[in-house]
């Protein structure tokens, strides 16, 4: 056992800095992070709006029609465009992060995350086009 007996004066006085609530305004990198997290607000609003749609649906044709008119009103278009921008940012950041969490290995070698990110984009564009085609052709 080590024994210790200390009679020295304490000269140290480490200076502790506290994080400010506005830390995310200090650096562009942090700001973009907050923006990324902020896109979730848009997502929440949209999800709730869609949920409302389901509720309106079971309330009957009239209720549904009302909902449809609200979401497709010309006033809603700019809001939707804004949402698209936010969603695009979400997608952009998501595809950048995902390959670093789930590493894909082919023949024991890890695929380059940049390559996987591009793969995500290709898949995304394909699903989007497919969805649009189905939607457009559904009439």
């Amino acid at each position: 056992m080590i024994s210790e007996h200390n009679t020295n004066a304490v000269n140290r006085r480490p200076y502790v800095r506290k994080q400010s609530a506005g830390w995310w305004l200090d650096k562009q990198y942090y700001f973009l992070y907050m923006l990324r997290e902020g896109t979730s607000l848009v997502l929440a609003v949209y999800a709730i709006m869609l949920a409302t749609g389901v509720m309106r649906l079971i309330q009957g044709p009239l209720a549904w029609q009302g909902w449809v008119e609200t979401v497709t009103s010309s006033l809603a278009i700019p809001l939707h465009l804004l949402m698209l921008v936010a969603l695009f940012y979400h997608t952009l950041t998501w595809f950048r992060l995902a390959p670093r969490i789930v590493v894909i290995r082919v023949g024991g070698k890890a695929l380059d995350p940049v390559l996987v990110e591009r793969g995500h984009w290709v898949a995304c564009v394909v699903t989007t086009l497919l969805l649009m085609l189905l939607w457009g052709g559904a009439q």
């Binding site: 140290r12 200076y15 502790v16 830390w23 990198y29 992070y33 969490i101």
Partner: protein, 252 residues
């Protein structure tokens, strides 16, 4: 080479016995194409103000001593060059208490590295006793090495802690380097220490305090990508969570 140009440097000072809080001091230092921030600080110490304190040793970006905030970005002083800047503000690494001038108090950081039990575990107690010489290596193919190699390159410089706002807010967070170290061992085919280390990973102050800000990896001078390690650690922890819920297999 001649030192034909000079640059003004603001250096943050804090001398606990004299100063109530940190303050900035201006210096003008000569520099050339090769001059690093570390060399600029050494010039200040040797020629302008010998009371300035900072840590350094290898001056080749491998010992991890010389982390400073350079224009508010965590960087290694010995691998940052004056030629890339027009003016400089140097301070102690963010998110750590300032011991003195540019010296950060990193004791808690080193404590975290120790806490994740960064050494090889084996189930067989005979294999844990390394005082007896062995005849053979554990086999490990280059591919198996590649699973953890990147995560074993950490020089413990602490830049990632200065970069991480989650650590900045909550000093309890084990943080990028320590979690990466834990993950490095977990991915090593020779290690059997899952039982020892998963509890830390699984805890609130483990991987789950990270919100993937990602700035840690951005500033890491050794491309360790701690953000990836932690977030792969989340996947590992999630799997461990499921294992805990599922009834234990018969062979346990």
């Amino acid at each position: 080479m001649a030192n034909n140009k000079s640059m003004s440097l603001s250096v943050q000072r804090y001398r606990p016995e004299l100063d109530a809080e940190p303050w900035w001091q201006e210096f003008s230092v000569p520099y050339n194409e090769d001059t690093s921030v570390l060399e600029a600080l050494q010039f200040i110490k040797d020629e302008l103000d010998s009371s300035l304190s900072f840590r350094w040793s290898c001056r080749m970006a491998i010992c991890g001593s010389c982390g400073f905030m350079v224009n508010d970005v965590p960087r290694l002083g010995c691998k940052t060059f004056l030629r890339d800047y027009s003016s400089l503000r140097i301070a102690a690494l963010d998110n750590f208490p300032i011991e003195r001038d540019l010296v950060a108090d990193i004791a808690s950081f080193v404590g975290k590295l120790e806490e994740v039990k960064p050494y090889l575990f084996r189930h067989d107690p005979k294999e844990m006793d390394t005082s007896v010489p062995v005849e053979e290596e554990y086999l490990q193919t280059p591919q198996q090495v590649s699973l953890y190699k990147q995560f074993s390159q950490c020089i413990n410089c602490g830049l990632c802690y200065a970069a991480c706002p989650q650590f900045g807010r909550n000093p309890e967070f084990l943080g990028p380097a320590a979690l990466t170290l834990a993950y490095r061992y977990l991915r090593d085919s020779r290690d059997q220490g899952e039982e020892e280390r998963m509890p830390m990973l699984n805890s609130e102050q483990g991987v789950w305090s990270c919100t993937f800000v990602g700035y840690c990896s951005e500033v890491c001078p050794k491309h360790v990508d701690p953000a990836a390690a932690i977030n792969q650690g989340k996947a590992m922890s999630a799997l461990d969570y499921v294992k805990q819920v599922l009834p234990k297999g018969g062979d346990q």
